[in-house]
Amino acid sequence: MTDRERLKALLIDTFLLDPEEFSFDLRRAQVDTWDSLGVVSLAVGVEQTFGYHLTPEEAMSLDGVPALVAILQREGISCGG
């Protein structure tokens, strides 16, 4: 499984998304389950999956999947399309 596929699986599991609902352009405002506890779950999931610890500021500032992809790519994790 590629890092991109692992990220997709992580986001689907974390926010209980339907696979058809998911896209790498998805915005936080489009996901009802991306709430404050969802932010924490996502941060835990990112650390478990990629070994990168999102700072609280990073986690809170994420406004969508592209922002997360950008952070992970900065850390050398190739999730881009």
């Binding site: 599991d13 209980l16 339907d18 696979p19 709430d35 506890l37 779950s41 835990v44």
Partner: protein, 393 residues
């Protein structure tokens, strides 16, 4: 000291139970393969006060915690309750009752064996749904019969006999767990002449507290109204309590004998609240509700909602998360397909905020059952090979 009567002795000779009921000495009627050794029950009987050494009977229950408890009832009270049940359940036209549960279960003992004894009706014993062919023969031959079932048996009946009809059954009672509202159309199809009732109670009530006709409510949580003479209350924490003239007089657990004085308010072990028109609503088992990240989580409400969208059965295993917060694992049976698991997750997302979601969604071919048909929660927790379909991050 009282005497011990085992289920297998009664299965081979029903007169043993009659003799015990007529004898002065208090007796315990228990399964041979029970959760405790006979010596524990003998010691429990010996610990009863002198006033309870005669004219009483005792049954073993494990309750929701799995801890053994010997509940002691007065035979005279049980007979009064059986007479009351005859009236409120409109049982006069019933000529026989088919036993599909162990008679050591208070529900079967009072609603069936004792009722049949008091009103001169026939008692048709079976070995339960483990032998569906024998049950079919008994139901085929039934004449104006009454069944007393637990909710979990509804699905088993539907699986074995869902396409058949048994016109000889005119009363079907459910107790011992959530009322199987979802299976009601199938139950009516299988028993086209039957009035169907939701009976509510607990072992300490010996055993009934409330009743409703199935058609009088749309929710499995609707218990109906308390039986005449019985009072239901809930305390500030939502625990459902009862006061009943038919209740147990005491019980013995690992700590020893506990009296239940006349007029005492006794916990049912459930959570509940008053509903409309004198009815009561069940919110789940006491202990099934916990706080997770500040949210009050009622697992039974989650399971109930999942069952509206899942064709099989569901139960749960209490499990703390990695941070020590209370949580649970939702277990489905049979093992769901990927699409089915996804549908369950959609249901969770649509109806519950994150703290209510399970830590994991797992599957099993079948849920383990106790003899009384209820899910064996201790056994379920001990099964290590459950398939994992989703987990919280």
């Amino acid at each position: 000291m009282g005497s011990l009567l085992f289920d297998d002795e009664v299965a081979s000779d029903l007169d043993r139970l009659e003799a015990a009921w007529q004898a002065a000495e208090t007796f315990a009627f228990v399964p041979r393969k029970g959760p405790v050794a006979p010596s524990w029950i003998e010691q429990a009987l010996a610990s009863l006060p002198g006033s309870l050494q005669q004219g009483h009977f005792a049954l073993l229950t494990s309750g929701s915690t799995g801890a053994p408890k010997l509940v002691v009832g007065a035979r005279s009270r049980a007979e009064q309750l059986a007479r009351l049940l005859h009236e409120v359940q409109h049982s006069e036209p019933v000529t026989e009752t088919v036993v599909l549960l162990p008679l050591t279960y208070c529900y079967a003992l009072v609603n069936q064996w004792l009722w049949a004894r008091l009103f001169g009706r026939a008692l048709r014993m079976t070995t339960g749904l483990g032998d569906p062919a024998a049950v079919r023969r008994t139901l085929d031959g039934a004449r104006d019969a009454m069944l007393c079932l637990v909710g979990a048996q509804a699905q088993l009946l539907a699986r074995h006999f869902g396409q058949e009809a048994f016109g000889g059954v005119i009363r079907v009672h459910f107790a011992g767990g959530p009322f199987p509202q979802r299976e009601l159309p199938t139950i009516h199809r299988m028993f086209p002449r039957a009035q169907v009732y939701n009976n509510y109670g607990c072992a300490e009530a010996m055993p009934r507290l409330a009743l409703r006709r199935a058609e009088d409510g749309a929710s499995p949580a609707d218990l109906g109204a308390p039986l005449p003479g019985i009072e239901l209350q809930c305390d500030q924490t939502g625990r459902l309590l009862f006061r009943s003239p038919f209740a147990a007089v005491g019980f013995v657990d690992e700590q020893g004998f506990h009296a239940l004085p006349p007029g005492a308010l006794v916990p049912t072990g459930d959570l509940g609240r008053p509903g409309p028109a004198g009815r009561w609503l069940l919110d789940g088992r006491d202990g099934e509700v916990f706080k997770r990240y500040g949210e009050k989580v009622a697992v039974s409400a989650v399971v109930g909602k999942v069952l509206e969208h899942w064709r099989g059965e569901a139960s749960y295993v209490p499990t703390p998360d990695a941070l020590g917060e209370p949580g649970y694992v939702l277990v489905l049976a049979p093992v769901p397909s990927e699409d089915e698991a996804r549908q369950v997750l959609r249901t969770l997302r649509a109806h519950f905020p994150r703290p209510h979601w399970p830590l994991r969604l797992e599957g099993l071919p079948a849920l383990p059952r106790l003899d009384n048909g209820k899910v064996d929660r201790v056994g379920l927790a001990a099964i290590g090979e459950r398939s994992v379909h989703w987990r919280q991050r």
